[in-house]
C-alpha cells in the first residue's frame, strides 16, 4: 500500500510539474472501441453459416487458435461460423476512457500503474516494439468493462464430464456475483463506492447451491486496487459453518474438483504482478461470440418462469458449447507465472480487442505441453435476457475447460443478469458469508 502511495505521489508530481498530457485522439478511441465500424474482417473462403470440420480445418488454420485447431482436426468438434457483430461497450465506459486515460502510465515496477479512475487505461494500439505492451493489455483486461459495474450469474451450472465416455460425473449449481468497488462508470455510485478502507477494486462472491455435499459452500474474493497486494480469499464450508481464510495455493487448485482454477475465472483471475506478460501480435481469429437467442438451446438443464434456457453442449464427451464463432480482432498475449512452483508454465490468452474479454486461453503445463483449453462464450447483451439489453456487457454465456491430458472437461452454463439489485455491496463481505450459511 505504501509503495503504491509513493508511486502515486511520484507520478502525480511528474504530471503536475510537466505539461498536462494531451487528450486521447478520437481516432484512437474509435479504433479501440469500434473496430468494425468501417467493416468486418474476412478470410478467404470463410463465410458466415459455414461449418469448419475435420475436412476443411487446414484451410482456416490461421484463423484458429492452436487448441481449437487441434480439436477440430481431431474430429472432437465442429465450428459453426457466424457473422461478425460489434459488441459495443457501454458509452459511459468509452467516455470514462476519453476523460481519464490520457495520463495513465505504467509504474517503474511490475504490476504498478499510476492512479486510474475508470475506463480503458491504454486504448492505444499495442506495439511489438513496446516491451511492456503485454502488461498494458493485461491492465486493459483488469480494468475492462467485463460484467459492467456489477452483475450476477443466477444460476450457473458447472458439469464435470469424462471426455471419452461423455459421462456427466457431477453437476454443481452456483450463484456468482460480481461488484466493482472502483472504476465504475454506469451504475450509481460512480466512479467508486465509499467507504472502502482497504481500497478494494472488485469483489467476487460465489455460493454453491447443489449438490448436497457442497451446498452452502461460499467463496469470497476481494481484489485490491493495489495490484501488488495478494487477493483476500475466504471460504465458508457449510458443514463447518464458519469462514476460513484461503491461502493462494488454493487459487491455483482445482476449484471444488472442477478443471477450473480460481485463477482461471473470467480468463485470468489473478494479479497482474503474478505474471510476466508478453504481447505476441494482433490476429483475426474465430472467437466464441454469438447471439444467445439465435442458438439451439438446452431445454433440459434449466427451466424457469421467464422461459430462459442455457446454452447446449455437444461434440466429444459433450465438452463443446453449441455456439457460433465470429472472425474478430484479437490480441495474443502470453502470461508466464513468476512463481517457479506455479502448476503451469504459461497461458496464451486471445484477448478480444473490442471488449477486452478473454474468451480463449490455452494453458500449458510445466513441461510446456498443451494442458487445458479455456473457452468462454460471449453473448451479445441485446439478444439475451431483456434486462441485459443496452448494458454494453459482453455476457459470459457458456464455458468449457478441457483438460486434454486427462481427457476430462468442465462445462459451464450461465444465466447472466446485469442488475445491480442482485449484487449489493454487503453481499461481498465476510459477514454475509456467515449470514448466508446455515
Amino acid at each position: 500500500m505504501l509503495k503504491k502511495t509513493f508511486l502515486s505521489v511520484a507520478i502525480t508530481m511528474t504530471v503536475a510539474v510537466g505539461a498536462q498530457a494531451a487528450a486521447i485522439p478520437e481516432e484512437v478511441i474509435q479504433a479501440s472501441f469500434y473496430p468494425y465500424k468501417d467493416g468486418v474482417p474476412s478470410v478467404e473462403g470463410l463465410t458466415p453459416g459455414m461449418t469448419i470440420n475435420q475436412s476443411n480445418v487446414d484451410r482456416f488454420k490461421d484463423a484458429l487458435d492452436p487448441g481449437m485447431y487441434h480439436f477440430i482436426k481431431n474430429g472432437d468438434t465442429e465450428m459453426q461460423v457466424g457473422e461478425t457483430t460489434s459488441f459495443d461497450l457501454h458509452p459511459s465506459y468509452v467516455e470514462a476512457t476519453r476523460k481519464y486515460s490520457a495520463d495513465v502510465q505504467l509504474g517503474a515496477g511490475h504490476g504498478e500503474l499510476s492512479p486510474t479512475i475508470a475506463g480503458r487505461p491504454f486504448p492505444q494500439e499495442p506495439s511489438l516494439d513496446d516491451p511492456r505492451a503485454g502488461e498494458k493489455l493485461a491492465w486493459n483486461y483488469k480494468y475492462g468493462y467485463n460484467w459492467g459495474d456489477s452483475a450476477a450469474i443466477m444460476p450457473f451450472y458447472w458439469t464435470m464430464r469424462d471426455m471419452d465416455s461423455g459421462k456427466k460425473e457431477r453437476t454443481i449449481k452456483f450463484n456468482f456475483h460480481f461488484l466493482n468497488f472502483t472504476h465504475r462508470t454506469s451504475q450509481d455510485p460512480y466512479p467508486k463506492i465509499e467507504p472502502n478502507p482497504s481500497e478494494l477494486f472488485r469483489g467476487t462472491y460465489v455460493q454453491a447451491l447443489e449438490p448436497f455435499d457442497v451446498k452452502d459452500t461460499q467463496l469470497l474474493i476481494q481484489r485490491f486496487e493495489d495490484d501488488t497486494k495478494v487477493d483476500n480469499a475466504y471460504l465458508y464450508l457449510g458443514f463447518q459453518r464458519r469462514v476460513r481464510r484461503l491461502s493462494t495455493g488454493q487459487t491455483t487448485d482445482a476449484f471444488l474438483g472442477t478443471d477450473v482454477m480460481i485463477e482461471d475465472f473470467e480468463g485470468y483471475n489473478g494479479r497482474i504482478s503474478d505474471m510476466n506478460w508478453a504481447y505476441k501480435g494482433t490476429r483475426y481469429m474465430l472467437m466464441p461470440f454469438f447471439s444467445h437467442n439465435e442458438l439451439q438451446l438446452d431445454n433440459e438443464t434449466h427451466q424457469d418462469s421467464d422461459g430462459y434456457q442455457v446454452v447446449a453442449f455437444g461434440g466429444q464427451g459433450g465438452c463443446f458449447p453449441n455456439i457460433t464463432w465470429q472472425l474478430r480482432k484479437v490480441y495474443e498475449v502470453d502470461s508466464i507465472p513468476i512463481d517457479q512452483n506455479h502448476p503451469i508454465s504459461k497461458r496464451t490468452h486471445f484477448m478480444d480487442a473490442q471488449t477486452f474479454t478473454i474468451p480463449r486461453t490455452v494453458v500449458y503445463d510445466r513441461k510446456g505441453d498443451m494442458w487445458k483449453n479455456w473457452v468462454i462464450g460471449q453473448a451479445h447483451p441485446d439478444h439475451h435476457l431483456p434486462i441485459n439489453k443496452g448494458t454494453g456487457v459482453a455476457i459470459d454465456d457458456a464455458f468449457t475447460m478441457i483438460d486434454m491430458q486427462a481427457k476430462h472437461c468442465t462445462t459451464g452454463q450461465f444465466k447472466g443478469i446485469v442488475d445491480p439489485a442482485l449484487s449489493p455491496v454487503d453481499k461481498f463481505s465476510v459477514q454475509n458469508m456467515r449470514a448466508s450459511g446455515r
Binding site: 478502507p197 449438490p211 491461502s247
Partner: protein
C-alpha cells in the same frame, strides 16, 4: 438434486410479521421452498468387540424464502433428522441394556489397581432398565433407555427437529442491516476444528461418535434468539458487526453417553452408574441438579467481529452454564470423611462467564493462514480428588493452514495441511486435580484430492501430551456422482495408561499409589480413555 416448491403462505406470514414487528400487512406471501437431504449408513467394527455402530440416518433440510417488499429477506429454515442405530440389536452382548461389565473401566484399562478391583462396582448398563435406584438418581441426565440410544433423535426434547428458525434481514435507514433469527438453531463461534474454545453456545452429543463426527452433526441445537447489527465497512474496518445471542432454551449439558452405549466419552456414563463398595453400596451419583427453566437460568452472549486489512477478528463474551458435569461431594452428616450413604456426589452445572476472542491472519510471505482463538472463563469446576474445585481457565488454539502442491504425490490438486495446538491452563490448579496445570493437544490434518476431488484421502492425527495418548484416523472417500459417497477409514488410538492417586483408596485401603478409577479418566482424556476403540469404519451416503 434438491426439489423446489413454489407456494403461498398466509397465516405463517402474518405470524412472522407479528413476531418481528415489521408491520407486514399482506394477506399472503409467495414463497419458494427448497428441500434436500440424505440417507446414510455408518457401519463400524471395533477390534475385539465386533460391530460398534450400525447407524442409519435420514436427514432432510428445507429453506423457504418468502417474497416481501418490507424486508430485505425473510426465510424459514429447518433440518429434520431420524436415526436408528442397529448395534443394540445386532451386538447386544457388547452394547445395550443386557451388556455387562466385569469391572469399572474394563473398556479402557486393566483391573490392576485397587479402585476398580474392590472400591467401585462395575457400571450398570442403561440403569433405567436395570437399576431403579440409579435411574432415579440420574434422573434427567445420562439416564437413557436402550430405545433412546437406538433412536437418539426421538425424545422429549424433539431432537428430530435439528433446526427450525425464522431469519429476517431489515435494511436500516443508514444502509446497515439488522438480522434477527429466532428458533431452534446452532450458533457457531470461533475458528477451531475438533476442539471447542469459543464454540460453546450449543452443547454437544458425544455419544454419537465421541469427538470424531463433524460438530454440525453433534451440536445439540437450542432454542435461541440472535440479533446481528451488520454495520459493514467504515473508514477503518472493511467489515464490522455486533451480534447478541440469547439462549432461552432449558439448559442441556453435553451428552457423554450412557453406560451401555458404544461411545461414552471418558467412560463417564459407567462411572456415574456405579457404586462405591462400602456397606451395601453407595451410589456414586445421588442427584443431578439440572437448572430449571427460568429467566435467570437462560444464557446470553455478545460478539463483535470485523475485518481489518488482512486480519479478521472477533471479541466474544458469554454467560452460560458449564456443559460438563461437576461432581459435588456429599459428606455424611454423622460420620466425618465418609460420603452420605444415599450417594457420593451430586452433579451440578455451574454458571460460567467467558470472555475471549479470535483472530486470523493471512501471511503473504508464508502464503498461509494463522488462526488464534482464546477464551478465559470464570466459574468452571474441574474434578479433583474429592469432587470438584472451582478455577478460572484459559484455553487457546493456535492454528496454521496451508495449501501445498506436491506433484510427486500424483495429483495437481493442492493438499490441505492444517495443524493446531489446543492449550489449556488451569489458573487455580491444586495438586489433587488429575489434570495438569498446563496441557496441550496437537492435531494435524493432511488431505489430498484426486480425480477431480472425487477421490479424497486424508489423515487426521491428534496427540494429547499429558495423557500421552494419540489418535490416528486415515480415511479415503469416493464420490462417484452427485448422489453417492463412500468412505472407509481407520480410527486407531493409543494411551490410556495414566493413573492418579485417589483419596478413598488411601483412606480405606491404605493404597497411596496411582489408580485408574475414578479420576484418571480425566487425565487420560477422550483419546486415552478410548484406547481400546480401534475401529474400521464404513460409511455410505445417498444425497438428494
Amino acid at each position: 438434486m434438491s426439489k423446489t416448491i413454489t407456494t403461498t403462505f398466509s397465516h405463517l406470514a402474518v405470524g412472522v410479521a407479528a413476531a418481528l414487528g415489521t408491520g407486514l400487512a399482506v394477506p399472503a406471501l409467495a414463497a419458494e421452498t427448497t428441500w434436500n437431504g440424505y440417507v446414510e449408513n455408518a457401519t463400524y467394527f471395533r477390534d475385539g468387540v465386533g460391530l460398534s455402530k450400525f447407524r442409519n440416518t435420514g436427514q432432510a433440510q428445507f429453506e423457504t424464502v418468502f417474497q416481501t417488499d418490507s424486508l430485505r429477506s425473510l426465510k424459514l429454515n429447518g433440518t429434520l433428522r431420524g436415526t436408528y442405530d442397529g448395534v443394540y440389536d445386532l451386538n447386544d452382548g457388547e452394547f445395550g441394556k443386557d451388556s455387562r461389565h466385569s469391572y469399572l473401566g474394563e473398556n479402557w484399562h486393566s483391573n490392576s489397581t485397587i479402585s476398580s478391583q474392590a472400591l467401585l462396582s462395575p457400571g450398570v448398563s442403561f440403569p433405567c432398565e436395570n437399576d431403579p435406584t440409579l435411574c432415579n438418581n440420574l434422573d434427567g441426565y445420562m439416564d437413557h433407555k436402550e430405545r433412546d440410544a437406538k433412536f437418539p433423535d426421538f425424545n422429549d426434547q424433539l431432537d428430530f427437529i435439528r433446526e427450525l428458525y425464522i431469519s429476517a434481514d431489515k435494511e436500516l435507514s443508514n444502509g446497515d442491516l439488522l438480522n434477527v433469527r429466532l428458533g431452534k438453531q446452532q450458533v457457531v463461534w470461533g475458528k477451531t476444528d475438533l476442539f471447542r474454545v469459543l464454540d460453546v453456545i450449543n452443547p454437544v452429543d458425544y455419544s454419537r461418535h465421541n469427538i470424531y463426527d463433524e460438530l454440525e452433526d453433534i451440536r445439540i441445537p437450542q432454542w435461541m434468539l440472535t440479533a446481528e447489527w451488520r454495520m459493514g465497512p467504515n473508514e477503518v474496518l472493511d467489515d464490522s458487526n455486533l451480534s447478541l445471542v440469547w439462549n432461552f432454551d432449558k439448559f442441556r449439558p453435553n451428552n457423554l453417553g450412557t453406560c451401555g452405549q458404544s461411545y461414552r466419552m471418558l467412560d463417564a456414563g459407567c462411572f456415574f452408574s456405579s457404586y462405591l463398595n462400602l456397606g451395601p453400596g453407595i451410589p456414586i451419583i445421588h442427584d443431578v441438579e439440572e437448572p430449571n427453566w427460568s429467566l435467570k437460568n437462560t444464557q446470553l452472549g455478545m460478539k463483535w467481529e470485523g475485518v481489518y486489512g488482512d486480519t479478521t477478528f472477533s471479541l466474544n463474551a458469554l454467560t452460560y452454564r458449564q456443559q460438563l458435569p461437576s461432581l459435588h461431594f456429599r459428606p455424611n452428616p454423622t460420620v466425618p470423611g465418609v460420603p452420605a450413604f444415599d450417594g457420593v456426589f451430586d452433579i451440578k452445572f455451574p454458571r460460567v462467564n467467558l470472555v475471549g476472542g479470535s483472530i486470523d491472519y493471512y501471511s503473504m510471505n508464508m502464503d498461509a493462514i494463522w488462526r488464534l482463538e482464546m477464551a478465559y472463563t470464570q466459574g468452571e469446576e474441574l474434578p479433583d480428588d474429592s469432587g470438584h474445585h472451582e478455577t478460572d481457565m484459559l484455553r487457546y488454539v493456535i492454528g496454521f493452514d496451508k495449501n501445498i502442491i506436491i506433484p510427486e504425490l500424483g495429483t495437481r490438486s493442492a493438499f490441505l495441511f492444517s495443524t493446531q495446538l489446543f492449550g489449556e491452563h488451569i489458573l487455580d490448579h491444586i495438586g489433587t486435580m488429575p489434570n495438569d496445570e498446563d496441557n496441550w493437544i496437537a492435531t494435524m490434518l493432511f488431505k489430498g484430492f484426486y480425480k477431480n476431488n472425487r477421490l479424497s484421502p486424508q489423515i487426521i492425527i491428534a496427540h494429547d501430551f499429558a495423557a500421552e495418548a494419540t489418535a490416528i484416523a486415515p480415511s479415503i472417500s469416493w464420490t462417484p456422482d452427485n448422489h453417492w459417497m463412500f468412505n472407509v477409514g481407520l480410527n486407531v488410538k493409543t494411551g490410556g495408561k495414566e493413573t492418579f492417586p485417589w483419596g478413598v483408596a488411601r483412606d480405606v485401603m491404605g493404597d497411596n499409589s496411582g489408580q485408574f478409577e475414578p479420576t484418571a479418566r480425566f487425565l487420560n482424556g477422550p483419546i486415552g480413555v478410548a484406547n481400546q476403540e480401534d475401529e474400521i469404519q464404513f460409511t455410505v451416503r445417498y444425497s438428494f
